[in-house]
Symmetry: C2
Subunit: 556 residues, 2 copies
């Protein structure tokens, strides 16, 4: 490969590897979509480039001889088809092309692979706004989240995976002189070790975070020498198609086979995910999505899998300093993207005796009202609400909100009607809130994906913690928020939720939310409960993608 | 814990962690059973201590209230019962005691756990000879192998696992101040991370290497905070019972629950392995043994497993400098412990056109004769043979050797009779050799555990490599020996066998053998083919035993 690419990107890779160990703040791609940073025309040009894709064939991919052109995306803001068409290839074609590309890619040195992949991210930087509009009109995310999550945050998560993969592959010496003293003489061997990639990788995307949840596995498999087939959710293809196109372009410029990274799209009448996943040549699978399909993926024989499924996230309320600030923070967390984040909280545990606020006890009912009032105030704020809520990605989520009225709960907020000021036809929904009793396990023991909050009345904080832990152990959890001013209770929560493999954010108020998750610092999903078996980006996330193999020979 | 233990063992842990990265020669426990090293009386005392166990209850364990006393070991050298009896506990008792001990052990800091575990190895050092005799009379290994494999080599492998586990658990900071610039202000969080152990661990041992194959998983689970239940093969309990007893003693001296490490023994009429493995509280399983049971273990739901099953190991003969030296080296490899090593070679691939020796071509038939003659010379050498062969661990292996005559092969050496000079009643067998054709896949496509060698006539070296690779990919392989003087062929073998996750030893002659495997340098089993899903000791072997969980809170 071109030597200048390796030299050019070494500093950012070094910084990223350093950040992985420090785990202090690090971000290579600015999350602020300001013209000062990205240029005066970036937003407008990005929107125009997005619009230019509509009702056309997506012609950027370097994958030859499509069998047909397919596409089924529609905008949650406009509830009409985007009309973008993508080339369709049968699973056998995709896998055999990947297999062929494998034997070229695996021979590229890890450091050179890393440089090529960072180059692809640098190219993407110029397309963050285009990707943002593509994300808005497939996922329903609001503009700011679309920009940040699909652009800079995703690119940083990709960089994190590249850095972790490079580090793990260069962790042991390429060669060592081994000399064993045997008394009068020595046994001398020359030894070498190779990180051997496992083979064809498949990455199965989800409809809500089409780049953020896809690029970690994609770049982790690529940096470790595996060719990748990206199979996005059929309703959210465009954002990741742009990513794949940029990777292919860099590969081709470097004289490499663009099929090292392929896009695989479902046809209307032929869903190809299972065919791909079950293909004997597919060795690695990354998956984000529902639990049932995730369990199917995890149980496939002979595959190494990395899953993020669903979880039931809890908020534990014990004692706070300022209940209004807490309520505002929580209201934002459940309103953000209308609760369609895997990190969004669902179950709020409040003791029947109320909670301590400063020195005083605030009764249970008042806590419930404070939370409901904060949500109502936020969704009624016309300057804020549309930019936080976004739209609802699919109709099943709308139906789930309606069905929540059938829960054995007491309604607190039950209507989710919201008129979007910019998109008259947008599919929207503000958070609904129901109260249920701790004894009514059936109501709260599953993920209710979307803007649905359950306030669960418990005997005391110990019961809150016990239930939150058991839910995480049985049904999975990706986040937990806890509010306590008591160091012993804090210690207890850390200990119990830690055993349930669930990260805990304590006492968040102000501009930081339990939903948020920082690259290079926060491990996203732990792999330690049924919410998923992998974590962005712990060492396991990269080392399971290759095998250390040693070779030895007597020294000269 | 006692501070002096942490201080005392820090230097060896540092040296071990350093060695893991350098991968040059490192051994903390001397493999030479010389009186100069271990003391004048060590051997005699060790034998006496071993003999004192016979026909008695093994009373050293600190596990309370046994339900009965059981034991079914017998010496392959004497073919009579050892009569050692061990306390029996039902699986529920073992698991509930482990669960209780878990909540104490997990709160001991990783560095303190590591120090306690190193202390147990230091205590074992004084019992290496006793363990050696216990190993001889359960496995049938010869004296030298019994000493080295079960004593110093096993202790070094245990130390390697402790060091790897300590390093991985201290790889990320315990705490970091995270500060995100937000323009006019900063978001500040205090973050902490914990490596949370997964829970009760089970280690299932094998009959041929009762400590060497057990201690890596045992110490890896312990150092990462998991309580361990050691379930040895019922025919090889004593060597590992001594190890467990020493660990328990150190734990108790340090004020900890000895049930952090328990011995679980089968009763004659109640095999408890499956009950333990399927117990919902058992989260981690290490296994060494046959493929069918290993596959069952790997497929258990909700468990993290580490397996070493069986493999079909190949020797590829292409070109050599000195055929006699090569034949002698290979003869030793197949004779050592009568082929009862997972690393012993089975299938020797020889091209029908012969191999290059120096500048000359030596015909196929002559290569076969050289190998057979070298085996015959070795087993007929009364000074060497008994000390290399040892005895046959079980009667099934004897039957397998007899059955080899039914293969569709041409017999080269077919009798395995051998009279042991010291043990008149020893169950012994020297290597048998059969020639089969490359087209006769059925004969050579499975592990024939024991002293059975197949010489497979191929068209050429390319066919040899292709078949060796396919066998490794389909049936697993733990070692491969290759002989070639051609750099291109060497590169081809490295590439192809690397893809099959199989380490290759090239051109071994003299005092180093394909069977041998050095702690801190050679990864034992790669995890990259069906011979097993784990490797001693790559990072994956330890990090899958715990979960990284993060906690965060706004900074004051």
């Amino acid at each position: 490969m071109k030597q200048n690419l390796a030299d050019k990107h070494r500093p950012v890779l070094d910084a990223a590897m350093h950040a992985l160990h420090e785990r202090t703040f690090f971000a290579h791609y600015p999350e602020n979509p300001s013209p000062d940073i990205y240029g005066e025309q970036a937003d407008r040009e990005g929107r125009e480039r997005y619009e230019a894709h509509l009702h056309r064939k997506f012609g950027e991919l370097l994958q030859q001889d499509p069998e047909m052109w397919v596409g089924q995306e529609e905008s949650p803001y406009e509830q009409q088809a985007l009309g973008v068409q993508y080339p369709f290839f049968s699973p056998d074609t995709l896998v055999s092309r990947a297999e062929e590309a494998f034997h070229q890619w695996r021979k590229v040195r890890p450091a050179d692979r890393a440089a090529i992949l960072v180059e692809s991210l640098e190219r993407l930087r110029a397309r963050f706004f285009e990707i943002a509009y593509a994300t808005m009109h497939t996922t329903g995310q609001a503009y700011m989240m679309s920009f940040q999550a699909s652009g800079p945050h995703a690119a940083d998560r990709a960089l994190e995976a590249i850095a972790a993969g490079l580090e793990e592959q260069t962790r042991f010496p390429e060669a060592a002189a081994w000399e064993k003293p045997m008394g009068k003489y020595s046994l001398k061997l020359n030894k070498t070790w190779k990180p051997v990639p496992k083979g064809v990788a498949l990455v199965i995307g989800c409809a809500t975070f089409p780049t953020w949840n896809t690029v970690p596995g994609m770049y982790a498999s690529l940096v470790t020498g595996n060719p990748v087939i990206i199979k996005p959710h059929p309703k959210a293809v465009l954002p990741i198609a742009i990513v794949v196109a940029e990777v292919q372009r860099v590969l081709q410029e470097d004289g490499l086979n663009p099929n090292i990274c392929q896009l695989a799209v479902d046809a209307d009448d032929r869903l190809i995910t299972k065919e791909l996943a079950e293909h004997p040549q597919v060795k690695l699978i990354d998956y984000t999505g529902g639990t049932a399909f995730g369990n199917y993926i995890e149980n496939l024989q002979g595959k190494t899998t990395f899953t993020e499924k669903t979880g039931v996230n809890s908020i534990i309320l014990d004692s706070v300093e300022d209940l209004d600030k807490v309520a505002q923070n929580l209201a934002f967390s459940v309103t953000l993207y209308s609760g369609q984040m895997c990190t969004a909280p669902q179950n709020f545990f409040v003791p029947e005796g109320g909670i301590k606020v400063g020195g005083e006890t605030v009764p249970y009912e008042e806590v419930v009202h404070k939370i409901a009032d904060a949500v109502t105030a936020l969704v009624n704020n016309p300057k804020a609400a549309p930019h936080i809520l976004g739209a609802i990605q699919n109709t099943a989520t709308m139906a789930r909100v309606k069905d929540a009225a059938q829960l054995n709960g007491k309604e607190v907020l039950s209507t989710c009607d919201f008129q979007h000021p910019l998109f008259a036809n947008a599919r929207t929904c503000t958070p609904v809130i129901y109260e249920v009793d701790a004894t009514d396990e059936e109501s709260y023991s599953r993920e209710l994906f979307g803007p649905i909050v359950l306030i669960i009345k418990t005997k005391d904080t110990s019961e809150s913690v016990r239930i939150a832990k058991e839910l995480a152990q049985r049904h999975g959890a990706i986040s937990c928020g806890a509010y306590t001013t008591d160091p012993e209770v804090k210690e207890q929560i850390m200990d119990e939720m830690g055993l349930a493999g669930t990260p805990v954010s304590f006492n968040l108020t102000g501009g930081i939310y339990v939903n948020q998750n920082a690259g290079f610092s926060d491990f996203h999903v732990t792999g330690g409960n049924p919410a998923g078996n992998a974590s962005f980006t712990n060492p396991e996330f990269v080392i399971k993608r290759f095998t250390w193999v040693g070779f030895r020979e007597p020294a000269g």
